[in-house]
Symmetry: C2
Subunit: 348 residues, 2 copies
DNA sequence: AGGTAGCGTGGGAGCGCTCCCACGTTGATG
DNA sequence: CATCAACGTGGGAGCGCTCCCACGCTACCT
C-alpha cells in the first residue's frame, strides 16, 4: 500500500518544478515558456526547452484545468432520437471535421450522446462539473431546450444547423435552400415536366428550407408550384416509400422526384421499381446528402452534397472565436452558411 | 480585471467546503458521502445530502482528477487509415455501445481519431498528459505498435478485434469464423454447388477468420475446398468488383458467393449484373456486417450481423474490470468473443 | 547624478478536491 | 474499572499547475 499509489498514466512523470530545477530557473519561467509567453529571455527559453526535451515533460491537463480554470476540452453533443433520423455518414463526417480542427488547437473532444432524459440530466451536470470550454450541438430540434440552457449558464456554444430562421445562438449551417434549388433546377434542365418532392418533417427548419428551394427553382423557371406534387415524409426509408406511393396515386404522370434525403430517395426508388417505372428513363430521381446509400443505389443516385466535414471544422472555428471573445459579449453572434454541391449520377 | 476571472462553466459554483459548512460537518465527511463510503453515520449522510441538494453541488472533475490521480475518462481511439476500410455503421455502433456503457459508470468518453503520424504522436503525449483511466482501441492492424505502447506504459487497454490468434492484450472480438461458417452453411443448404468467397486482406486476422469459417463449412458438408473459388480483396467496393471478375473468369459455373464484407458484396453484385447473372437465381450472394449497404441493395443482401453495439459495451465492461484490477496484475487477461447472426434477405 | 519606466524573473498563494493521520466516543472485554 | 478495538470524524497536506506580486536589473530620461 505504501509508495504504490495508483497512477492513471505513468508514475513519476516529471513536473513543472523538476523542469525548472533542471533548467536552473523558477517555476514561473517554465510556465511562461510552456505557454508561449513573450516575456521570456532567449536564454531562459532555450534552457527550459532543453530541460523539457530531456525529461520528456508533458504538462498535466488536470492540474492545468484546475489552476487555470479552463478545460482544454470541447463537448460534441449528439442527441439521438428514437429513430435514427440522420444517417450515419452525417454524424461521422461531423465528428471527423470536429476532431481534425480540435486537434489543430490541441483541444480534446468529449463525445456526448444523449439518448434518454436521464442522460440529458447528466449532461447538464457535466456542464458545471467537468468544465468544458465550449459545446457543439448538432441535429437540434426546434423545441430543444438545450441551446437556451447553454445560453443561460453562459457556456459558449455553436449549433450545427439552425432551429429557425432567427436563430439566436451562433451556428454553422449548410445552404439547404440553395442545394434543393440546384437539384430541382437540374431536373428542369433535363427537361422534366412534373417534378415532385418528398420533404422531411416540416417542423425541422432544414426540411422547410429544402422545400423552399424546391419552390424557388420552379418559380424561377416560370412554373407553378403544384401542391399535389409535394408530399411530406420523415427522412426515413419507409416514409419515402409511403410518400412515393401517394405521389404516384395523385399524379401518375410525374417524371421527376426530388427527395430531401438519400434514404427517402431509396424508399421512393423501391416503389418506382414495384410500379414498373424506370429510373431515370421514366422518372428522374435526386436525393440529398450524398451519403453511401446514394452511391450504392442502382442506378447511383444523383444527390446534393453537403460538406459535412467542413461544417464540423467550421463549427469548431466559430466556437473557438466565441470562447476567445467570451468577455466582450458582442451583440452580433457569428453565423455561417456553407455551400452545397450537386453530384450528378445515373438516376437523373 | 478584478473579480471577473473567467470561468469555464458557472462562476461561484459551490465547493466541497461550502457544502461542509452548510451541513455542519468537515470536508472529509462530505467527500466520504459523495464517494459513497460506508464510514459515515446516517445523521451526517443525511445532512450532507441535504446541503448538496440545496446548493446544487456538483464535484469538480478537474480537482478530483488532480487530487485522486484518476481521470474518470476513457479514450476511444479510432485509427483512420487512408481508405476508410470499415464502413461507418461499424464505428457509429461501437461508439453508441461505448457511450451507453460509459454513461452507466459515469465516465467520460474522449474520442480520438488518428489520421496522421503527427496525431499519433500527439496521442502518445495525451496518454501521460491527460490522464485517461483506460483506452479502447478498435480496428487495430496486425502491425500497429499502439497496443504494445499502451502495455509498456501500463495504461489499461482493451482491443476491439484481435490482431492475431494469440493476442496478448485484453480484447473483445466477434465470432468471425462462426459467422462466416454460418453464412456458407446457409448457401450449401440452399443447394448451391460451387460456393466462392471474396476475402478481406489476409494480413487482417478478422479476414483470415472469415476465410477459415468458409473452409470449415465446406469441410463439414463433406466438400473439398477449391482454391480457385477463393479470391482475396481489400474490403472495398472496387476490390469486390475485381475479385468477382476474376472468380467468374476462373469458374464461370459458380452459383454462390460469400463476400467477407457488404461493400465487397456490393461490388460483386455490380459485376454479376454486368455479366447478366441474376441474384439470387443464378448466383446467391451473402455479405458480412449487415450494414446499411446490405439493406439498400437490390435484392437486399443476406448478411452476417455482428452485434457491434454490444461489442462496444463489452469492451467498456472489460476495460473497467482491467482498471479495477490494476494492482493485482493477473496473468490471464480477459477476452471475449461475441456471437454473430445470419440475416436472411433476398440475395440468397 | 538621481529618478523612473520597463523587462525578466522567482516564488507565494491558491484552484477544489482526495488521502490519511490523529483524535474523540462508543461499547465490548478482561 | 481500566483497556482496547472499532467506528466516525475533522482537518492538514498536497496533487501540478497558473496567476500575480514584488524584486532586481538595465536603459533611458531630466
Amino acid at each position: 500500500m505504501a509508495g504504490t499509489r495508483r497512477r492513471g498514466a505513468g508514475r513519476g512523470r516529471p513536473t513543472l518544478e523538476e523542469v525548472a530545477a533542471r533548467a536552473g530557473v523558477g517555476r514561473g519561467t517554465v510556465s511562461r515558456v510552456i505557454n508561449g509567453s513573450p516575456q521570456v529571455s532567449e536564454r531562459a527559453r532555450l534552457a527550459v526547452e532543453r530541460a523539457v526535451a530531456e525529461l520528456g515533460y508533458v504538462p498535466d491537463r488536470a492540474a492545468r484545468a484546475l489552476a487555470a480554470n479552463r478545460a482544454d476540452t470541447v463537448a460534441l453533443v449528439i442527441p439521438e432520437p428514437e429513430t435514427r433520423l440522420f444517417a450515419e455518414p452525417y454524424f461521422s463526417d461531423i465528428i471527423r471535421g470536429v476532431s481534425a480542427e480540435l486537434a489543430e488547437a490541441d483541444l480534446q473532444l468529449l463525445l456526448i450522446l444523449i439518448r434518454t432524459p436521464k442522460e440529458r440530466q447528466r449532461f447538464a451536470e457535466y456542464l458545471s462539473a467537468h468544465r468544458v470550454d465550449g459545446v457543439l450541438l448538432v441535429s437540434v430540434h426546434a423545441d430543444d431546450p438545450l441551446p437556451d440552457l447553454l445560453e443561460r449558464i453562459e457556456v459558449p456554444a455553436v449549433l450545427g444547423g439552425r432551429r429557425s430562421a432567427h436563430e439566436s445562438v451562433p451556428y454553422v449551417d449548410s445552404d439547404n435552400a440553395g442545394g434543393a434549388r440546384c437539384a430541382v433546377e437540374h431536373l428542369i434542365e433535363r427537361g422534366r415536366a412534373a417534378v415532385a418532392t418528398i420533404t422531411g418533417p416540416l417542423d425541422m427548419y432544414a426540411a422547410r428550407c429544402r422545400l423552399d428551394g424546391y419552390r424557388a427553382a420552379l418559380r424561377t423557371a416560370g412554373r407553378e408550384v403544384d401542391p399535389e406534387l409535394i408530399e411530406a415524409a420523415d427522412f426515413t426509408e419507409e416514409g419515402g416509400r409511403l410518400a412515393m406511393r401517394r405521389l404516384l396515386a395523385r399524379r401518375p404522370r410525374l417524371d421527376a422526384v426530388f427527395a430531401a434525403s438519400d434514404v427517402m430517395a431509396a424508399g421512393a426508388r423501391q416503389v418506382l421499381r414495384e410500379e414498373g417505372r424506370r429510373v431515370p428513363e421514366d422518372v428522374a430521381l435526386v436525393g440529398y446528402e450524398d451519403s453511401a446509400v446514394a452511391r450504392h443505389m442502382d442506378p447511383p443516385l444523383t444527390s446534393v452534397r453537403q460538406t459535412t466535414q467542413e461544417m464540423g471544422q467550421a463549427m469548431v472555428r466559430v466556437l473557438l472565436r466565441e470562447i476567445e471573445s467570451r468577455s466582450e459579449r458582442t451583440a452580433d453572434r457569428p453565423r455561417l452558411v456553407l455551400p452545397t454541391e450537386l453530384v450528378r449520377r445515373g438516376s437523373s
